[in-house]
Subunit: 222 residues, 2 copies
């Protein structure tokens, strides 16, 4: 069965976004510091249609995380725009332009119904008001046997983690403090529901920590 794979950049003090998130600063104050390791990578640049870039241990991790994904789930806040009902006159269509870098079906968790948004390059955003299990069912059907990426943000991740629905988790640990903002594990409790550390990768400006459930092909970290 297709697996739900979650990856996210987190600060040493546990934040995945800084304070005061806005359309201008979607990652909050200081939030870009979590992602500095990725922007220079060849794998990241290629995904955004850019040439060149560094090749280091992080490339392997990023390429692996992109491989075999047939659908994506994200929270309303990550899709972005504004809180509350959608603005029909001036609809928010995401941060990614006419041809978003997903190229597969994306399911957006929201409290506000909206028609699907079909964009170029195979990316369709479907808005799901039925909660995390409904979104996972839809994503599984759409993924056609491939895996599902849980893209964030924190609130969507917290719900899937607390429900024990995440099969694979990779924390890109940035060696910085944010001091405040949105904590990844807030309200998740003390249970990783069988997710075990199976691999640590050291790379420039980041340490990648991979967790999987026991039925994965990865042995526990030795």
């Amino acid at each position: 069965m297709s697996r739900l794979r979650f990856k996210i950049s987190m600060s040493l003090d546990g934040f995945v976004a800084g304070p005061n998130q806005s359309v201008k600063e979607p990652l909050g104050a200081g939030g870009m510091r979590l992602h500095e390791w990725v922007f220079t990578l060849k794998a990241w640049r290629a995904m955004h249609g850019l040439e060149g870039g560094e090749v280091n241990e992080s490339n392997r991790v990023v390429e692996e995380s992109l491989a075999g994904i047939g659908a994506t789930i994200m929270g309303r806040n990550m899709f972005g725009g504004h809180p509350g009902p959608w603005d029909a006159k001036n609809p928010w269509n995401g941060w990614w332009g006419a041809n978003p870098p997903f190229h597969h079906p994306v399911f957006v968790l929201t409290h506000h119904a909206r028609e699907p948004l079909v964009l170029e390059g195979g990316t369709t955003f479907t808005f799901v008001t039925g909660g995390i299990a409904a979104a996972l069912d839809l994503a599984r059907k759409a993924a056609g046997g491939r895996d599902i990426s849980l893209a964030g943000g924190a609130k969507a991740a917290q719900q899937y983690l607390a429900a024990g629905l995440v099969d694979e988790m990779e924390i890109h640990l940035a060696p910085v403090l944010l001091g405040s903002g949105e904590r990844l594990f807030d309200g998740v409790g003390a249970d990783l529901h069988g997710l075990e550390l199976v691999r640590t990768v050291a790379a420039p400006g980041v340490t990648h920590l991979k967790f999987t459930k026991g039925d994965s092909p990865w042995p526990r970290q030795k």
Copy 2:
């Protein structure tokens, strides 16, 4: 000059002790889960007068952290016992018995003055009421050119980190959630004061993250 070296075990969600710390459960509920990686090690067992034990990548890290230390600083809560003024009739003399595993001068941060406590094997506890800078001065003099270990707990570490006085930090990241308890970086802010990630070591049940200031012999993690 001797360096202030701080090491501590932290959960993935940033806690260094569980909730409800007490004399019976000094690490709080679930806090022992942070330290499971260390108890089986040959290096840890040797420090406590025990034979045998596992030898893996964590041994090297523990041996390195013990080497070259001439004095230790710890908070009152880590020395333990009870809050408030010392009980003269029934004095708390620490968790470690007649011959504690330090074998050098230890400086305890406290608001309550007390005569030094001389124990076997070279360990003397000196109680410092003048604050973190005073304790560091005393420890530096006592260390005789060797380094100083900042042993914790969280509140002592937070003060030294916020003041930028820590020269080296090793986080033993345990791949578990505690969900609540004492957070290492609470109130420290967004500034590591020049501490940079220089090394990641993967080992059974733990990932060791070493940070040093720029003037250290360690290059930044590549």
